[in-house]
Symmetry: C2
Subunit: 386 residues, 2 copies
């Protein structure tokens, strides 16, 4: 298969994990940019900030005081998006076929009773079109370190391994002690990604339902498994390992690629080589170290790319809690890194009009992005500046 | 149906147009915000900017010179995302069932020929997992006015009617003179929405394929039509007109609502009362005026909300070009306004980690947003400041 023409022509690529398409316009990089100039980011934050609600010993907005933690620290978000306890919402039965039957019955009864059949029909449409369901859950904040001014790129492998261990404990705790169906671990890094506090931390939102993105991925992975008798991400990994064109980093247990279907300019997908289903399968210290190593490598490459504190959103996708055997079998642990920067520390890709209303669109190809990231060193640029 | 409990509890709402769910966390508005302070935007731009490549008479980056236009002005984007002429890409046949058959045949032939069957299997997986197709098209820029410093909110109804007429001519031209399947008219307004030039303009991208968003909406509208024998958006409009809870603006021909499933804080959906399929059905001057009127009303309300030049992306969805009868019948012209601001002129909603990796999430309910917009006057705040 010769794909070299795709370097020059507009085309769409298919994302089998999400079952959607992305428009790619490689020639558009030639467009002049009138935006701001690149600035070189040097970390000027203090090690401890008395105003930071995530630093050890400080007071949080909810009134609680942080302990004098030495490694990671987990607490329930003072302004959680979902709560464990709340009133129930009992939506009217909205199964379509049931409704048709019910509607007919009601109309029959209504007509017999002399009422207006039209108003019953309207009730059915309303419950079809105004559908909602209650959501319970719990939102956690996970501080990565007591140091206010460290990012994953600055941390050692043992420090990141400790974070991995904390994610595992949290997963295990939610699995054992709650009825919830999902735990989404994610990090928003940088002001450009809506993060208002630079103290290194991630979040974990657990919910009573399986959210849209992991649900869609799971559906597609299960269908692939059914149709082809193999794991979609194992197959995809094999293709990438053979081509070696989009691989950005690799160690004994993990591979990071700019996926064929990447939407964000320097998006990466981190895949485990073994087909593990949840992060609980990282059983040994060595397993956790290798996971920490690939995360560290990606974080350093990103910062080195534009010599800045590279903003991104990152998240772990894995088998849902309380899943069926089929759901478990079709899964494959992976991380998505979604960074907005396009050309420099200050010029990002905007996902706006066309992207929101018609189709995701990118300017450089994933292969071009991968080549840029491949060429970057493993030592953090800031270390040299210090 | 009593939905009042949804004002207080976390819940998900279903979007039947897009077939997806949105997480709503009403109580989260109580969260204190440490972001920037609100500023009051006064328009300080000149009427004509010699540096602007969209002002009449000026040179564009491609070298062409703009005419001395008096109303609207259309030209082909000098840095189009898609082009009319380019090399072809012939992807290998990737129909799954065909591939399985082909794969078996190939393997059979291969085995007989003594070759490695495994390598053939891999080729099949590759064409399944690295799918792409060429895209041709044309990208237009539509200047709304010669005045550099006007926005839709500043323009008169006759001025906006002229823009509507320009959109119609463009649609008609593309329909008659190109083989393309889609025309997406959209406006990115404000720096927050990736717009680098404040000169009032929109874009229209035409493509050889029907993009993701209109394709997904069309699929869902067609399925609804099949299942219920009526138009989804007509039914939805009837529900909203009866409830009158989420209606923000209305005239004889159009209704603007904060839809039940809104994702962006002050998102609105503008629906035609008559079930028209494309903007070509706005045949009389009166038709165009009423469309201009609802656009003007929304633009003014948005600017009045935080007394600022309100950023948004906006786009028109309508029946695709070269559609089948069923595609045409299931459609219903509508506009999406997608504005990012949440609390003030400077505090926007970030759609980041959880939203990208798990599920769209909003903090205020669409009903709360509608009440805010309902209460705003029809006169532009800036007029009073002048
Ligand atoms: O075409 P423009 O205005 O240069 O670019 C803007 O709108 C495009 C279409 O939504 C986006 O792809 C770009 O990211 C954005 O900056
Ligand atoms: O929870 P935070 O950090 O206050 O908020 C940030 O992340 C959330 C989860 O992605 C988003 O909903 C918010 O828009 C964003 O500002």
């Amino acid at each position: 298969m010769d794909e070299s023409v795709l370097d020059d022509i507009s085309h769409r690529r298919y994302n089998p994990l999400r079952d959607n398409w992305i428009l790619v316009s490689p020639h558009r990089t030639k467009r002049p940019w009138l935006g701001q100039q690149e600035t070189q980011g040097k970390n000027t934050l203090p090690d401890y900030d008395p105003e930071c609600y995530l630093c050890p010993g400080n007071k949080r907005s909810g009134g609680a005081q942080n302990p004098d933690f030495k490694n990671t620290f987990v607490f329930v978000n003072d302004f959680s998006a979902v709560k464990e306890e709340q009133a129930d919402y009992d939506p009217p039965q909205s199964d379509a076929s049931f409704l048709v039957v019910l509607g007919l019955l009601q109309c029959q009864v209504a007509i017999e009773a002399g009422a207006n059949a039209e108003s019953y029909r309207r009730i059915d449409k309303t419950s079809l079109l105004l559908k909602a369901e209650g959501v319970k859950g719990k939102c956690y904040v996970v501080c990565f370190s007591p140091a206010h001014n460290k990012t994953l790129a600055d941390m050692s492998i043992p420090e990141i391994s400790t974070i991995v261990g904390t994610w595992q404990s949290l997963y295990r705790d939610v699995q054992s002690n709650t009825p919830f169906r999902s735990i989404q671990i994610f990090e928003n890094k940088g002001a450009a990604m809506g993060c208002s506090n630079p103290h290194p931390h991630c979040q974990a939102w657990t919910t009573s339902h399986l959210p849209e993105e992991p649900a869609a991925e799971l559906k597609n992975m299960m269908e692939y498994q059914q149709a082809h008798g193999s794991c979609m991400l194992c197959d995809y990994l094999a293709v990438e390992l053979e081509k070696r064109e989009r691989i950005v980093a690799e160690n004994d247990a993990w591979v990071a690629v700019c996926p064929w279907w990447a939407f964000w300019p320097f998006e990466t997908l981190v895949l485990s080589k073994r087909c593990i289903k949840t992060i609980l399968e990282l059983e040994s210290d060595k397993d956790r170290e290798l996971f920490a190593d690939i995360i560290s490598t990606i974080a350093i490459k990103y910062d080195n790319l534009f010599e800045t504190q590279f903003p991104y959103s990152m998240g772990i996708h894995q088998a849902p809690l309380r899943g069926t055997d089929e759901e478990h079998a079709a899964n494959h642990v992976h991380l998505h890194f979604l960074p907005p920067l396009l050309r420099s520390a200050t010029v990002k890709k905007f996902q706006v009009g066309y992207e929101l209303l018609a189709e995701p669109q990118r300017d450089i190809t994933p292969e071009q992005a991968a080549r840029r990231l491949q060429g970057l060193g493993a030592e953090l640029y800031r270390k040299k500046l210090e």
